[in-house]
Subunit: 400 residues, 2 copies
Amino acid sequence: MPYYIGDVIKDAGRLIARTPEKFEETGVRVRLNTAVEEIDTAKGEVRVAGGERFPFDSLVLATGAVATLPQIPGVDTEGVFILKNLRDAITIKEYLSENRCRKVLVVGAGFIAMEICEALRTRNIDAEVIYRGELPVKRWDPDFSRLVLDELNAHGVSFVSGTTPLAVEKGAQYRLRLLTDGGPYEGDMILMALGVRPNTVLAEAVGIALGKSGAIGVDFSQQTSREGFYAAGDCCEVYHRVMQEWVNMPLGDIANKQGRVAGSSIGGAPRTFPGVVGAQSFKVFNLELALTGISERDAEKRGFDPLSVIIWGTPSARSLNIDKKRLGLKLIADRKSGRLIGAQAIGEAGAVSRVNVLSLGLWNGMTVDEIGYIDLAYSPPFSGAWDTIHIAAQKLAKAF
Amino acid sequence: MPYYIGDVIKDAGRLIARTPEKFEETGVRVRLNTAVEEIDTAKGEVRVAGGERFPFDSLVLATGAVATLPQIPGVDTEGVFILKNLRDAITIKEYLSENRCRKVLVVGAGFIAMEICEALRTRNIDAEVIYRGELPVKRWDPDFSRLVLDELNAHGVSFVSGTTPLAVEKGAQYRLRLLTDGGPYEGDMILMALGVRPNTVLAEAVGIALGKSGAIGVDFSQQTSREGFYAAGDCCEVYHRVMQEWVNMPLGDIANKQGRVAGSSIGGAPRTFPGVVGAQSFKVFNLELALTGISERDAEKRGFDPLSVIIWGTPSARSLNIDKKRLGLKLIADRKSGRLIGAQAIGEAGAVSRVNVLSLGLWNGMTVDEIGYIDLAYSPPFSGAWDTIHIAAQKLAKAF
């Protein structure tokens, strides 16, 4: 697999295409569509396709992640796509238009799959999710996943559970047919949304150590096992403050932070990256979902003794909640320490904001008892005098 | 001034009127419209109007606050109102209807005044704010207050600054005339929204000590200077974690928490109230405003060396912010400790959620440098990969 420098930037359209020039102004050179084929550690040079060499003092590996493709016959058929970068998105849009696609099969049910379904329905294209598990977005509690399933159905997305793809072939009613262990499904396009794995090929080629997660191991300055070689983003690990472990968490905001930390350190203003608590969110149709920290299963694996509660509250004071919006909040604590270790939220509004507050609770190692009395900016349009956070934390504190 | 037990509850309409019965079910008796005239500390009894006596082991003073009325001639004229409780609100609504009010003068420009203006305009009644200062909501930065002024004007509220009321008399064009040092203003109703002071009369009568703020002094269990006598809510002080001082902060969510702490302690499950960081919020027309911590002026008074920054960001990723919503965020840090000590936000969306996150930063004594790298639940509908919080904190950290 070739490595492109600035590959995505090239295809990002008018706005992002200006980026190379903006970099030039600050003295940074950007090479687009330039595959790095070898890192010559002895000379301190990278060799790109065509043979040109670029010397370096420090090197940042920002090789990102590789989308997972199932190893099934026909997976390379035209019309089977992954969605990993902007270029993929543009290619998909073009394919949808040029082929007048009426229906797309989406394989996988994580948050990228959910976002794809919404985008397709917005264009009035049918979407059918094929998933080997039972419910969508399995990182969330099944009670919340069931609401996501209802939301998909309410917007015309069909959801096929317990079904594993076996092969892709030409279709009859639509362009393509996906054979599965539950029979054939057809669509004009098949989108594989099965997650990503860190792209570590270049790093491994020069003997840089991988962490337990399989991603490039880094320290708090983003330096790898080899001095002067840094890594940032989806290709490397990040310290998880709740798990107290290095993990791979391919998310854009983390990549941004790691890049800045690596750059600062290389540029002579060393700083350390304080790690993450696992906060993430997405929107699907009229629902927002967010979570932070760890699940009960992850907690048990790591020696915590998890205790949890789910509360159904409202995003504003009940008196002002005239459209009867609901806000579901699940809190997970560790019985031994009394600390919050995870939170999940779902609702038409207010889920992300609650999870962000609780992320700072996790960041600072707060107990659920303390969280039951935190000071929030109360006003009826934005919460009850007791916010859903307080109510959930107090209920959970009582369960100890 | 008489003291009513359950006074507000009585007038709160159908829903809240059920509360006494709900209490009875749990063995709590509620006396409505019952003025406490004396606390007999020797016998451990309260005497109410009419002479009936109620014995107690512990007593909670939840006497609230008294709305400030200017000492001017005619202030007791019919049509001059304060808005402190639900009964006031109902009386005001009735008066507005019965007298077919076309225009209301609102004296004061704090957040209650702002909320009144919005409520009046919703009923298509003209509102004119009379304020002795320059800009509305002076707790916020003048840059933000100016946006509030624009928002008032855009919704047909006129704002008269630098003007102090001198007297109330009968009007010509409208029912009432407010004489001021800037000339006469007329309206069918005058609403005095000049803030509140703690109601400490009963407490003082039995020798309970007041704090420096003039409110009832309490400890972290809500107990006053007299054993067995507790206080909760607007009548008493609360510990401010950023100021590291006891202050009076008459806000509903704080009152709720203090009441629960007092009740727990009296009921044999003692707990302590961890204090507040000064979080508050309100909505006026299409703007939400929130703040937490302390202002630069308060900081200087308390020996901090404040440093601040204002950032104009967006409530979602720029690519999704098609209606060009703006989010203003001001952060205030202490140069000596590097810690965040205050935050203010304004916008059509996202102000409260940012301030709530930052309130937890204040609660835990975080530095702005650390806040620049906190883990939030990023997704484009809810923020950029770098949230406005990160951008502001990093900019402020650079200013040290």
